[in-house]
């Protein structure tokens, strides 16, 4: 009997630990560095953003990509037809729907990836664990890891993918395009007065989550001369509703997903009791934006900056 009791206690404690672990958001990775690899005849080497050098003895023809942002980069570089398998969250552009879907994240299925015999596998340490990267390398896969924490990191990721696909010129063009868009948008911003913005990641019903400093949303906001009201929060965090009201943002951007037939997030936000005093609600400056566009470290961040600009400052 005593043993059963002990087992019961252990089981319950385990349950607790799992509950707690599920709750905590994903941790942040390290900064990535990347250098150009040398090239001789058809063999070449690329150093990925975790500092690991991957050698290729022939040009890449078959790609497996597990990370949505890398997938967008590959398509933007015009190599979409080489993708033979994609992670389940890779949903942009629309053509990805025709590519074999692979399990990704914590359910990454290594056998499934190996069976496709790709020349290279793109993954990211944000979505996948280091152990999974290692396991794939053990299985003989050439794994290239991206790890963009900010917009400069996105440029590095684009350059890296460009090197692997030997599309360096296209990569530089894409980066140039993004830089131009950002420059154009931030030039138009008047610096007369500073406005504040609040990003809402999850709705009130589930506890308010916001994007604080060191997020793409924060970076784009500051590019547009907007001050994030939760700049004192590092990364993403659950914040107090009272604080949102007290900090009184001029603009509210929701990236909450909603289904057809539900109340759109902006309407829900404007109808919240107690929020009537908030400047953004009073002036109806509340919008919904595509969460994938503004939170994925991919080329569409430039479009996100344009969309945010259009919302805040009127037409482009």
């Amino acid at each position: 009997m005593r043993r059963i009791k002990v087992i019961a206690v252990i089981l319950i404690l385990l349950c607790l630990v799992f509950c707690a672990a599920c709750q905590s958001p994903a941790g942040s990775g390290n900064e990535g560095q990347e250098q150009a690899g040398g090239e001789s005849d058809s063999s070449f080497a690329v150093t990925d953003m975790t500092g690991n050098t991957v050698e290729f003895d022939r040009p890449v023809e078959k790609i497996v990509v597990l990370t949505a942002a890398d997938c967008e980069i590959i398509y933007a570089l015009g190599a979409g037809d080489m993708v033979v398998g994609r992670g389940s969250y890779c949903d942009y552009p629309a053509e990805t729907a025709d590519v074999t879907e692979l399990q990704s994240g914590s359910e990454t299925n290594i056998e499934q990836i190996v069976s496709l015999q790709p020349d290279v596998v793109f993954m990211s340490t944000m979505d996948q664990s280091v152990d999974q990267v290692e396991a794939l390398r053990q299985a003989g896969m050439k794994v290239v890891v991206s790890e963009a924490q900010n917009i400069d990191g996105v440029y590095q990721a684009i350059r890296m993918v460009g090197q692997v696909l030997q599309k360096d010129a296209e990569a530089e063009d894409l980066i140039k395009n993004m830089q131009d868009t950002f420059a154009q948008v931030s030039q138009q911003v008047s610096e007369e007065e500073e406005h504040t913005v609040y990003f809402e990641v999850s709705p009130l019903e589930y506890g308010l989550w916001t994007a604080g400093s060191n997020t793409f949303m924060d970076e784009i906001a500051s590019m547009l001369g907007l001050k994030n009201i939760f700049a004192d929060v590092e990364g993403w965090g659950e914040v107090s509703e009272e604080q949102v009201i007290e900090r009184n943002p001029d603009y509210i951007i929701s990236i909450t997903m909603y289904m057809e037939g539900e109340t759109p997030p902006e309407e829900e936000i404007m109808s919240r009791p107690g929020w009537q005093q908030v400047a953004a609600v009073q002036n109806q400056q509340v919008w919904t934006m595509d969460s994938n566009m503004i939170s994925r470290p991919g080329p569409r961040l430039a479009e996100a900056a344009q969309a945010l600009y259009a919302n805040v400052y009127g037409d482009q």
């Binding site: 019961a8 206690v9 319950i12 659950e238 009537q276």
Partner: protein
């Protein structure tokens, strides 16, 4: 039969004492929060909204009247409801570890809630009514399943059997929840909050619903305190002193399902409140259910209010999930109680 000794229940002064303590904690929880608002402003805000006047200084009123007060009330009512459920189940099953979360009833209720959301079950004219109804139904069904299994495997209904079955049932139900969430796609991805609980964003409608549920369920449970006393000695004992065992058990289980169903559909599963508070109350007022149930009612409200206060203010401006606080305190208390009850037996 079942005649009550004089003075067995709470006397008027003790009710007053508990009420004063509860009101004191309520006041602290309304006065202290993520944003500092002076007591004078709070009183002004409450007073003028009671009279329907707008306040020139708008923020204090918005925060106090629209956000903090409904949340604090919802927390107090949930705490009271969960605790009285825990006390009733511990008595009914003669099991010191019984509680909505250890028995798997809360998990069952959250499965009901998730199914209602995934398949769009709605009650016309009452937002969130479908979720609530499904949560109650599933709470009741899970209780039937758990107790049915427990009787089948072990007629004496020993502590360990019920708890083990409860845990196994919770895991089983959680796996179904995960399957539903996977298939329902983005719609239910955020629903994982049911597993940890959050009372942020409660509004006056939630408060009203909780209040009604507590009035009905609490009244039923308080009505059966003598029968619970008889159950606490043993089911045979209850039968011998003239309790209609089957009927009383069913009614108590329905009352508990209503309370847990409503609490889960509004705040998700908040673990351990119903487990720990009745034990604390027992240490204060003894095992007699005539005193234990009211004491749990007040104690639960106070306990959850304080837990929520910590969750709201500890990491300001960030918020902790209230379940994190109650699980932290609860897990330690759980082991302590387990140890005590084992020593008591051997």
């Amino acid at each position: 039969m079942l005649k009550e000794a004089k003075g067995e229940g709470f006397s008027f002064p003790i009710y007053v004492l508990f009420s004063i303590a509860l009101l004191g904690v309520l006041w602290i929880c309304i006065a202290v929060g993520s944003v500092f608002i002076s007591p004078a402003d709070i009183l002004k805000a409450v007073w003028s909204s009671l009279r329907g006047l707008p306040v020139p200084d708008g923020f204090a009123q918005s925060i106090i009247v629209s956000i903090r007060i409904p949340r604090v009330l919802a927390v107090a009512l949930s705490g009271a409801a969960l605790s009285i459920c825990g006390a009733a189940m511990q008595g009914l099953l003669r099991n010191p570890l019984a509680d909505g979360s250890t028995l798997g009833v809360s998990s069952g209720a959250s499965l009901g809630a998730v199914l209602a959301i995934a398949f769009g079950v709605r009650l016309p004219g009452f937002a969130g009514g479908g979720v609530m109804l499904m949560a109650m139904t599933f709470a009741f069904l899970s209780m039937l399943v758990i107790l049915g299994l427990a009787y089948r495997l072990d007629c004496s209904l020993s502590t360990n059997t019920i708890i083990l079955i409860g845990i196994i049932f919770s895991m089983f139900v959680n796996s179904i929840v995960n399957v539903v969430v996977t298939f329902a796609g983005e719609k239910v991805k955020t629903i994982m909050f049911w597993t940890m609980g959050s009372l942020s964003g409660s509004n006056y409608q939630d408060v009203l619903v909780l209040c009604c549920a507590l009035l009905v369920g609490g009244a039923i449970l308080l009505h059966y305190t003598r029968e619970l006393n008889a159950f606490a000695i043993g089911e045979d004992n209850a039968r011998h002193v003239g309790v209609n065992v089957r009927q009383v058990k069913l009614v108590i289980m329905i009352a508990v399902s209503i309370l847990i169903g409503v609490c889960v559909s509004i705040g998700g599963t908040i673990a351990f409140v119903g487990l720990v508070v009745p034990h604390m109350a027992r240490m204060l007022v003894g095992p007699n259910h005539r005193r234990l149930l009211p004491a749990s009612l007040f104690g639960g409200a106070i306990f959850l209010l304080l837990a929520d206060l910590l969750a709201r203010t500890l990491l300001n401006p960030l918020e902790l999930s209230i379940g994190v606080v109650t699980s932290f305190v609860g897990a330690i208390a759980f082991v302590y109680i387990f140890n005590l009850s084992r020593k008591g037996k051997s």
